[in-house]
């Protein structure tokens, strides 16, 4: 039995060599750090379901004081921008077809007459539902503004609501993200998401590259044991993964000013476990692929479903039961839940145990699986 110090020394030497191999190239250095940070910016700005400027057009066939009052409410909302006053149905069709207006509001000729007579006055709200999500949000805004108009109308015309009709307000409080900003949800999730892709890819490629170039055989005839080679390959990826995660974390805090309420120690402990799981997956992939291209394709093949089934795009709770069970093997699912809870909610280890033990399990299984593969397949 060799002394442990010798093993550690060998691992250290190999780690240094691998780290140099990864970082010696300037383009490689840039391509490892810039893309994740750049993506954090893009996602931070682009990934939003909040509508700020709704282009709308009006087909006002009434042209009365009341219809003008209603439209003034829309114009004054700060959300709706009137792009045109239309005169005919065909024009309406054209504005929606060509996406010049997201919403068209049609007010019938008898609008004011019906309003004054106490009958319900209809307005038609036509939304371009090619993107049904946006259409639903915009329609919701119109409804809210019309509600406000109705309340004002009641107040102005003295038709107070009868005493037994409920008069109330719904007061919503959102924990951890008081203004419900999509960005606050998105960017902490990106830490796991982007780190996963890059770590798996880097690990899978580093072994595949040596194989493709034939240097892996040289490595095998050295006194290094397969497990030591594996650890040497894993360490640089862990390091790069942690640096990338830190980069995104800095963007979140320094640029987007998303308040961090948890503990950095907990966050990094969890991230380390997640990155170990990712590295394990990368090593497994590299053990089964013959060349860099296969390693890359396999990575992509695995990471894409992981990303889509992580709960970031659509909540896991709304997926079919069978798919929900499938997501249990997805490390990203736990990482995203974990980072959100530490970052936004300040949760401690006790609450996070549900995310941590699966990550630990995945890391153990993949790393020991990779060690086995290294010993048996590569010799």
């Amino acid at each position: 039995m060799e002394p442990l110090t010798l093993t550690l020394l060998r691992i250290w030497a190999l780690t240094k060599k691998e780290l140099l191999a990864v970082l010696k190239d300037k383009v490689a250095r840039i391509s490892l750090l810039v893309p994740p940070v750049l993506q954090a910016f893009i996602f931070g700005y682009a990934a939003s379901y909040d509508l700020n400027h709704v282009a709308y057009a009006v087909l006002d066939q009434d042209r009365s004081a009341s219809s003008q009052a209603l439209l003034a409410k829309l114009d004054g909302s700060g959300v709706f921008m009137r792009v045109a006053d239309l005169h005919s149905d065909s024009q309406l069709r054209r504005y929606i077809d060509t996406q010049r207006a997201l919403v068209v509001i049609q007010i019938n000729q008898d609008f004011e007459k019906r309003l004054l007579s106490g009958a319900a006055a209809d307005i038609q709200v036509i939304a371009d539902s090619r993107n049904s999500n946006t259409a639903a949000i915009a329609s919701g805004y119109v409804n809210a503004i019309v509600d406000a108009f109705n309340r004002d109308w009641h107040a102005l015309h003295g038709q107070s609501t009868p005493s037994h009709a409920p008069s109330f307000r719904v007061v919503t409080r959102a924990w951890y993200n008081p203004n419900l900003e999509s960005r606050w949800t998105m960017i902490p999730s990106m830490i796991g998401m982007l780190t996963l892709l890059q770590t798996v890819l880097l690990t899978a490629m580093s072994v595949a590259r040596e194989r493709e170039q034939g240097t892996f055989d040289q490595l095998l005839v050295t006194p290094f044991r397969p497990v030591e080679i594996m650890i040497g390959k894993a360490m640089p990826s862990v390091f790069v993964g942690l640096v990338q995660a830190t980069g995104i974390l800095l963007v979140a805090q320094l640029w987007f000013h998303i308040p961090f309420v948890g503990s950095f120690f907990t966050l990094y402990a969890g991230l380390l476990m997640f990155i170990l799981a990712a590295v394990g997956i990368g090593l497994l992939l590299s053990a089964v692929s013959q060349n860099m291209q296969q390693a890359m394709l396999l990575t992509f093949f695995l990471v894409l479903p992981f990303a889509m089934l992580s709960g970031m795009a659509t909540p896991i709770a709304d997926m079919p039961k069978a798919v929900q069970i499938l997501t249990c093997i997805n490390p990203l699912r736990y990482a995203i839940d974990f980072t959100q809870r530490v970052y936004l909610e300040g949760a401690g280890v006790g609450l996070l145990w549900y995310d941590l033990w699966p990550l630990l399990l995945i890391a153990t299984i993949t790393l020991s699986g990779a060690a086995w593969m290294f010993r048996h397949r590569l010799n």
């Binding site: 709704v54 329609s139 093949f301 479903p305």
Partner: protein, 384 residues
Amino acid sequence: MNSAANEVATTTWRANANRVRALVVKETRQLIRDPSSLALGIALPLVLILLFGYALSLDVKNVPLAIVLEDSSPQAAELVGSFQLSPYFQTSVLQSMAQAQQLMQDRQVAGVVRLRSDFTRTLLQGDGEIQVLVNGSDANRARIIQGYVQGAVGAWSARQQAEGQDAVPPPVVVQSRAWFNESSNSSYFLVPGLIVLVMTTVGALLTAMVMAREWERGTIEALFVTPVRSGEILLGKIIPYFGLGMIGLALCVLAAKFLFQVPLRGSLWLLIACSMIYVLVSVGTGLLISSATRNQLIASQIALISSFIPAIMLSGFLYDIRSMPTAVQVVTYLFPGRYYVTLLQTLFLNGDVWAVILPNAGVLLLMMCMVLIASIAVTRKRLE
């Protein structure tokens, strides 16, 4: 004399065509023999179709909701009933707020509705308050839940009003119509995204990786010492990947029709024509990236950043461009995904609207020419 010149021209043309054909056959064989490229070209579209069809859902339902009922009046009980009847919620009625907060913290419930003990009294005074607590960590879901709560409360309020004698109808009633997707079916909205993802993956990512590998191994230089011209070599590369992209399109269109039941209101031929242009833009981008980097790892990174991520994030299929800040909106014009998503959404859900199709397809066509010319130029320059 004239006919001899013609003959020479014809034979050169034939020789050219033969060379390109031979190259296409070679590249196609190479593609088919490498199981991993075929996997990306055909299996990945299938996986994406299944994921989009069965796993992704934008419809929030069965939200676990805790109702803290501190008031025992019939009105409050009726309001609770309104939540219990709603198909969107799975309610559990609790007595204490502390208990509900604990459930929130443990993620057992996604929202809490609280009716305080003075709810009915303040309600009759015209100042009732219904407290709602949601978890903002998932902002989007929280907002949807908030909307559903408001809906359930609205239904209760309407019932209460209807029970009163001299109910006052609201002065203005909104009749909403969602054109092109009356029932707000979310697969109508996912299908264009699915097609863009598949076409971009096959076009840009696969091409970039395969070509970068040839550069790394030097096999492309070997090709260039043959009498084949550089344009012909690129053509030989483009055609097989173009074919693979078209297979991906066919899979997606079939899935759209039979799996998702999304109507194709425009013409199929226009859809195919626009998709051909987009695939060529993608394949051209892939070639350009690989010739410029000549390194598999960097080529795949750049392909991800410059084509794949923008196709998801900046194309308007998932996140509407109209809700982005102006600076980001300007950036979206630089990427082909935006035009293609507009074309797909219009062709599938709206019809042959030339006023939309001509400008968008025109820009794509322009991008295609620019990318292809640039990739030929860069490849030539790299070899000199």
